[in-house]
Amino acid sequence: MQIALHNLQRTYGTLHAVNGVSLSIPSNTIYGIIGKSGAGKSTLVRLISLLEQPDDGEIYFDNVRVDGLEGDALIQRRRRIGMIFQNFNLFSSRNAEQNIAYPLEITGTPKGEIKGRVDELLALVGLEGRGKAPISTLSGGQKQRVAIARALACSPDILFCDEATSALDPQTTHSILSLLKEIQQKMGLTVVMITHQMEVVRDACIHVAVLDDGTVAEEGLVTDLFSNPQSAVTKDFLTHLVGVDEAAKGDDRMVQWSKKRGAYTLRFRGDTTDQPILSTVSRASGVDFNIRASGVQRVGDVEIGTMFVDINGTNEQRDNAIALLREIGVVVEEGVL
């Protein structure tokens, strides 16, 4: 299911929560929407999951307009959307399998069919035999698995994940993301992940839109965004992800030699991470590099390196070095965010 948003607007009083968002979310993919708190993510997800109506703009699912649906049509459409949440939002009055059965019950599925389908779903999310467990006895990761099974019960074509891993520890986040990727592949779903965690985007998403102040600051393939970020917000997100702050805390992805940040940020992508680029450029241009901090991380199938450096030499030598770096395919930005 392909989703298209045209100039969505939503205002609460004087707050312009969503201010002209246009996005095209391709079918059969994992699409991330990242933003800081207050960027308008929650409002945007309420709009595209049809929980709220936009003030202006249009929403299309596979070229069918869905904003403004009402009554039965709206309810039928919602039944084909799966949604999972940060706080799981499971029914405490029902055990695991009764939770998963809920969407089937409300759509009038016969009792006999429900049982089989629930067992299938429990197996899909790796909770075989835990069907009778009361919700309070499950761990956070298990709760999110139940929530995923519940969201998938009616075979939706879209799955919205609203900060679905924000309440989970890193290991559990990893296992939930793996599960979501696996399910996406298996069912050919369009998964939309709303998050404030760049790790989630890096580890799970193919495409991403960066939301800032109710508008789309940047949008594209995750690999492009990591190797060549354009907007200040994106750069900020990346700095926090692999930044000097984290390096100081002993994060092993970023090796740090100096507490001060460098004057330039270099971003390497793919093959360039394997080559002795700095020494080559240093010899050719006569500059000296002073590496402040550096690291390589994996984004999907691509390795992306980030390095904060000072470049010492005459202005001419420095410009020459930067030109050489850009020629090789390294993104050079002045200053570090």
Binding site: N89, S92, S93, P103
Partner: protein, 221 residues
């Protein structure tokens, strides 16, 4: 105290029990829909699923007025209604009418409070899954709020035991009537004492049973 007196006490206790039982039943029938209405029509940020501010306001005002009415005066005002429905305004059956009406707004508030405790996130999830409003009420709000609802009903029954004793003062029968006519007006302190003790024991039993049911519902989660 001879057998005749004990017989009188037994009859009065049964009258009280029947008054409390039926008035609880009817106050629930009257109060439950109002409580649900108060919840679902409230503003969205208070958990309303069909916000209707004007209706909500009107209902809320009516409930407040009825709740603040002194019971004994409400009872007198409702004599004509009792006469219309039951054919008389005196006796146990007749007392059930004002008791039910007096307790209904209380029940409505108790149910509203219990339903509003349900996590709004859970209601949002149910809505996102395409639940109809009726399905949200029946399959989400009520089951999720059940332990609080049971506590609320317990409180209602206990209140009604108190009210039913008051109803005795204006010819409603039951233990209150016994305590006033025999205990107070005929200076039979022993009968008064027995009537009061029975009321206390009834309240205690209801409270314990209600707490147990509520606790068991929570433990199962």
């Amino acid at each position: 105290m001879n057998a005749l007196v004990w017989n009188l006490i037994l009859t009065s206790t049964l009258q009280s029990l029947s008054m409390v039982f039926f008035s609880t039943l009817f106050s629930l029938i009257l109060g439950l829909p109002v409580g649900i209405m108060l919840t679902v029509t409230s503003p969205e940020d208070q958990g309303g699923i069909i916000p209707m501010p004007i209706l909500n306001n009107i209902l809320s005002r009516i409930v407040n007025v009825l709740r603040s009415f002194p019971f004994i005066i409400l009872m007198i005002l409702l004599f004509p209604l009792s006469r219309l429905l039951i054919g008389t305004s005196i006796g146990t059956t007749a007392a059930i009418v004002p008791l039910s009406i007096a307790a209904a707004p209380f029940v409505a508030r108790v149910i509203e409070t219990a339903l509003k405790e349900v996590d709004p996130g859970v209601v949002q999830a149910a809505r996102a899954m395409g639940s109809t409003n009726f399905q949200i009420i029946r399959k989400v709000l009520i089951p999720e709020a059940l332990p609080s609802l049971v506590s609320g009903v317990t409180l209602t029954i206990i209140n009604l035991i108190g009210y039913s004793a008051m109803a005795g003062a204006i010819g409603g029968g039951g233990l209150g009537d016994l305590a006033i006519r025999y205990g107070y007006q005929r200076f039979r302190g022993d009968i008064m004492l027995v009537a009061v003790v029975i009321i206390l024991v009834l309240v205690e039993i209801i409270q314990v049973v209600g707490n147990r049911i509520s606790a068991r519902l929570i433990a199962r989660r």
